[in-house]
Each structure stands twice: as structure tokens, then as C-alpha cells.
């Protein structure tokens, strides 16, 4: 008899709730209608295109300096003017995107990978492995990012003719070495939250291997916060790269980057502010885009914010 009651009630109830959606689908639905999300995606797409294919945006050679025309204000010929060396600022700003985006994206991916693996292992396996890995995390967490970056880059400076990718790779390496602990701590705590759930116990009771449990049960439920923080960190890494370049030890000329351009322009801020303005604007827009993207994704994944 209870069967008949249930069968009469159920269809209506299902209709009211609507089709079942996973958290991911739910988040995607709310992101789809978020203007902030789309403007961030658009900006990021533009910057990524700029870094892959700069000649699409400008035909000017960024490494051609016209010494007889330095610090010119914006004009039809030089949209953003020229800098202290007579370089075209528009071309340098377009070509400079590559270094910042490359450093940000690579450092975010490597910290997510390294921090993620260490966080999952210490959260999932626990015991002495957790104690050991957590202490190692604490050690690297205790060294502030900028301080570690300055020491590292001063100890392994760039030669005058260093390969571009080695220079960028070094900055990515130092950001990874001192940036992963945040992700690892976050990942560990979200794994600890997911681990006691019944479905994990059930999977274990059914004889699933640890790797399978991590892959199909732990990761999908614990990855979202780490991805959000990695996205926001991307902006932070771009700023740290610029700071190291400002101190003269991050990317160094002849590498073209926003950080290098800004640090060159700071000396003439009183007389030629436009030299400083354009690279700063682009750098800030890039940082802003990644922060907005991270914020939007976090809000979408957080049921409490609805």
C-alpha cells in the first residue's frame, strides 16, 4: 500500500525539483549568466592570444629602438608613444604579454600539481606520511614568497645572453618552490573533509584501489577550492614576477616583459608618466581578469552564496 502512495506522489515531486544536476553542472549554469565571468574570460582570451601570436596585433618590431625619437607622447604612428630607448611602447606591451602570461600560467599549473599531489597524499594516507609532509609544507610556508624569490634569483642570476625560456623557467621554478604550500594545505584539508564520507567507505569496502578512490571519489569532490585559489594565485604570480623584475633580478633585458618595462619607466615617472602607464595598465588588467575569474568560479561552486 505504501508503494501506491509513493508512486502517486513521486512524479509530481520530481517535476518540482527539476532534473538532477551535479555540482559542476550547477556551477556552470550560474556561471553562464554571469557577465563578470564572461568579461574575465574575454580578457584572458585576448591576453593568451597576444602571448601566442603577438604579430596579430602589431606589425612593429619591438626590439627596434629609434634613439632619435625617445619618450615621445602617444601619436598616430606610435599609439602608446615611445620609451626611454626609443622602442614603440605599444609593440613592447603586446610582446610583453608572453612573459607574464607564461610565468603566471606555468607557475599556477606547477603549484597546483605539486601542492595537489602532496596535499592529497598527506590527507589520504595520513599517519607518519602526513606528519612528514605537513612539516615539509610548514618549512616552505615559513619562507615568504618574495623573500625566497629574491634570494633564489640573486643566487642564480641570469647571464647577459641567457636563453629566454631558461630565464622564464627560473622564475617559474622559484614561484613553484615557494608557492606550493598554500595549495597543499588547502588540498589536504578538503581531502580530510571528503574522506570520511560513506561513498568513500563503500568504495573501499568494495575493494577499490587507493588510486581509484582518489581518482573517482576524492578528487572530483576536493579539487574545486584548489583550482579557485590557483586561478587567483595566477594574478599574484604575475605581480611577483613584476616585483622581481623591478628589483632587477626577475626577467632581465633583452627579455621583453611588463615588469621590465614598468621598472624602466619608474625612474622617469615625474617627467614621462605615459611610459609607465601603458605596461602598468595591461599588467593590472591581466591580474584583474584572473582574480575576477577565480571569484566567479568560487561563487558558482559555493552553494552558500546563492
Amino acid at each position: 500500500m505504501s508503494d501506491t502512495v509513493a508512486s502517486t506522489v513521486q512524479p509530481a515531486a520530481v517535476e518540482e525539483v527539476g532534473e538532477a544536476r551535479s555540482l559542476g553542472q550547477d556551477a556552470w549554469r550560474s556561471l553562464r549568466s554571469n557577465a563578470m565571468f564572461w568579461s574575465a574570460v574575454l580578457l584572458i582570451g585576448l591576453f593568451v592570444l597576444m602571448s601566442i601570436w603577438p604579430s596579430l596585433f602589431t606589425k612593429t618590431d619591438p626590439s627596434f629602438g629609434n634613439i632619435s625619437n625617445v619618450r615621445a607622447t602617444p601619436s598616430a604612428e606610435h599609439w602608446f608613444g615611445t620609451d626611454t630607448q626609443g622602442y614603440d611602447i605599444y609593440a613592447r606591451t603586446i610582446y610583453g604579454a608572453r612573459a607574464s602570461i607564461l610565468v603566471g600560467v606555468l607557475a599556477s599549473l606547477t603549484t597546483l600539481l605539486l601542492g595537489g599531489v602532496i596535499g592529497v597524499v598527506s590527507g589520504f594516507y595520513g599517519r607518519w606520511l602526513d606528519a612528514l609532509l605537513s612539516r615539509i609544507t610548514d618549512i616552505f610556508y615559513a619562507i615568504p614568497l618574495i623573500l625566497g624569490g629574491i634570494l633564489f634569483m640573486a643566487s642564480f642570476p641570469n647571464g647577459p645572453n641567457s636563453n629566454y625560456f631558461i630565464v622564464v623557467g627560473k622564475v617559474v621554478l622559484v614561484l613553484t618552490v615557494f608557492g606550493w604550500p598554500t595549495i597543499a594545505r588547502l588540498m589536504r584539508s578538503s581531502v580530510l573533509q571528503v574522506k570520511p564520507n560513506e561513498y568513500v567507505l563503500a568504495a573501499r569496502a568494495l575493494g577499490a584501489s587507493p588510486w581509484r578512490i582518489i581518482r573517482s571519489h576524492i578528487l572530483p569532490n576536493a579539487l574545486a577550492p584548489a583550482i579557485v585559489v590557483a586561478t587567483i594565485n595566477l594574478g599574484v604570480f604575475i605581480v611577483v614576477e613584476a616585483t622581481l623584475s623591478f628589483l632587477g633580478i626577475g626577467l632581465t633585458p633583452p627579455a621583453i616583459s611588463w615588469g621590465v618595462a614598468i621598472s624602466d619607466a619608474l625612474s622617469s615617472i615625474r617627467t614621462y608618466p605615459h611610459v609607465l602607464f601603458f605596461p602598468s595598465l595591461f599588467l593590472s588588467l591581466a591580474v584583474l581578469a584572473f582574480i575576477l575569474l577565480g571569484d566567479a568560479v568560487r561563487d558558482a561552486f559555493d552553494p552558500k552564496s546563492r
Binding site: 610548514d138 618549512i139 594574478g235 628589483l247 619608474l266 615617472i269 602598468s280 599588467l283
Partner: protein, 309 residues
């Protein structure tokens, strides 16, 4: 409580050892010869170089050097720098100005940050909220050194309200306002956003509705019931951010020509003065860990449910 503190202090030992070793290894790899340029226009004599390297244990392998250094450090000896001046003496002269800078930056963070966050959170979706949200995003996306140089130009040079550089070790509090604001600017923005988010979330909690329903004024419901609960993540952030503040001090002190600890590290790196750098950074790391311990103890004050028994 006492037991908890002792346990935390013991846990700090391996962290300090590990962190100093990493720093020591990096400084060990600093290129260049510390004796170059020490003897004026001519190269140093072989005897002097040999004596110098012997005195500073530069001929030992990394691990032995580190061990010898640690043995001295444990006895409170921070070593002498390559100019023959004890690092402790140098630091004693310089730590006050950096400490004042850091404390003022934290004061900016707590007062301006929390105030802006509360104003925005209470009036969610209104003008003040949008103003705070947009302006903090603005601050976060501009690198601190650009903000620093720009404000230095505006307030220090163009309008002449604050001194543009602060080279004196006994600088007045007034002259440190601008550098401290620059140092704390990024954190002010983060604190404001964090306070706002947590306040908005907690304002929907049942206990706040109860507080309002039983007739408390809005001021009391927000100030006493909601804010105190919302401050725990903010306090955590301020503690964790203290490390970034110490790192940022290197940049800020360089912009404003302040002769503090950050400037000392920078000078040490550039003159290949290994001991000076390692000792200073080690002291910073220890201070940072102690501040975080203090923050954990503060949780109990903010939320009596959290106890360290």
C-alpha cells in the same frame, strides 16, 4: 594552554631548522667572491683571502658550514658580517624602524580594512559596497611597487605632504605614514574583502535573526554578535600575511630609502654577505612563526568554543 604553547614551540624547531637550511643553501650558492673589492684597487693578497675564507668557514662543504653556523646560532651568536661587525649589532640598530613600519601597516590593515569591510557588508549591494569592492580590486591588481612610487611622487614630491624618503633611523611616526600605508595597501584590500564576505555570510545566520528579533539595535547585533564571529578568518589572514609584509618590506624600504631590515637583506645579497643574509632571514622566519602562534591563541579570545586545552 601552557601545554599547547610548549607543543607548538617544539613543533617550530624542525620548521626553523629546515627553513634556515634552505636559506643557507641558497646563500651558499650566491655567485661572486666576497673578498673581491675589499682591498681597494688591487686584488687581495693570497694570505688575506686564505685567512678570510678560514675565518668564515668558506672552505668547508655546505653541511659542515651549516652545522658550524647552527652551533653558534643556538648560543645566540648571529655571527659577524664580512665587514667584521656583529650581525646582532646591525640588526639591533635596524629592527626598530622595520618593526614600526610593520606595526603601522598592520594598524592600517585592521582599522581601514575592517571598517571598509563592515561598511560594505552591512550595506550589501548599495553604493558603499560597490565602492569598496571596486576600489579594493583596483588596489589588488596594481603591483605594490607601482603604488609606492606613484604615491611617493604624488604626496612626497608633487604636493610635499609627506617626506619622499625616510633615510633616518630615528624617523618620526609622521614620516613613516606613507611607507606604512604603501606596505599595507594590498593587505588592506584583502582584509576589507574578507571581512565583507564573512560578515555577509554570517548576517544570514539564525542567531543574528534571533538577536534582532529580541529587540537588539542593529549596531549591537552587527558589532557584537556578527562581527566577532566573522573576524576569525580575518585574524588568520593578518597573521599569515605578516610574512608577506616582511618580504614586502624589502621593496618598500628600497622605494623610500629606509635603512631597515629589508634594506639590510638587500644590501647583504648584493655584497655577497652570506652570514648577514642568513641570520637576518632566520630571525624574520622565527618572528613570523611566533606571530602565527599568537594568532592561534587569539582564536580562543574571539570564539570561546575554540580552546587549546
Amino acid at each position: 594552554m601552557g601545554k599547547y604553547i610548549v607543543r607548538r614551540l617544539l613543533q617550530m624547531i624542525p620548521v626553523v631548522l629546515g627553513a634556515t637550511f634552505i636559506i643557507f643553501a641558497m646563500v651558499f650558492a650566491l655567485p661572486g667572491d666576497p673578498t673581491s673589492g675589499k682591498c681597494g684597487e688591487r686584488p687581495c693578497s693570497a694570505e688575506y683571502v686564505a685567512k678570510f675564507r678560514e675565518e668564515h668557514n668558506l672552505n668547508d662543504p655546505l653541511l659542515i658550514q651549516y652545522g658550524k653556523y647552527l652551533g653558534k646560532f643556538a648560543q645566540g651568536d648571529l655571527g659577524t658580517n664580512y665587514y667584521g661587525i656583529p650581525v646582532k649589532e646591525d640588526l639591533a640598530k635596524r629592527y626598530t624602524i622595520t618593526g614600526r613600519l610593520a606595526i603601522m601597516a598592520i594598524a592600517f590593515e585592521t582599522f581601514i580594512g575592517i571598517l571598509a569591510g563592515v561598511l560594505a557588508g552591512v550595506r550589501k549591494g548599495r553604493f558603499v559596497d560597490n565602492l569598496v569592492t571596486v576600489s579594493t580590486l583596483f588596489v589588488i591588481s596594481i603591483p605594490v611597487f607601482v603604488i609606492g612610487v606613484f604615491l611617493q611622487y604624488l604626496f612626497g614630491i608633487k604636493w610635499g605632504i609627506f617626506p619622499a624618503t625616510v633615510p633616518s633611523l630615528e624617523a618620526s611616526t609622521f614620516s613613516l605614514i606613507l611607507p606604512a600605508f604603501v606596505l599595507g595597501s594590498l593587505s588592506v584590500a584583502y582584509v576589507a574583502r574578507l571581512t565583507r564576505t564573512n560578515l555577509v555570510e554570517n548576517l544570514r545566520a539564525d542567531y543574528v535573526r534571533t538577536a534582532v528579533a529580541k529587540g537588539l539595535t542593529k549596531r549591537r547585533a552587527v558589532g557584537v554578535h556578527t562581527l566577532r564571529n566573522s573576524l576569525i578568518p580575518v585574524v588568520t589572514f593578518i597573521g599569515a600575511d605578516f610574512g608577506a609584509l616582511l618580504g614586502g618590506a624589502i621593496v618598500t624600504e628600497r622605494i623610500f630609502n629606509i635603512q631597515g631590515v629589508g634594506g639590510y637583506i638587500w644590501k647583504g645579497i648584493n655584497s655577497r654577505d652570506g652570514i648577514a643574509v642568513v641570520s637576518t632571514v632566520t630571525v624574520l622566519v622565527i618572528v613570523y612563526l611566533l606571530v602565527n602562534l599568537l594568532v592561534d591563541l587569539l582564536y580562543g579570545v574571539l570564539d570561546p568554543r575554540i580552546s587549546h586545552e
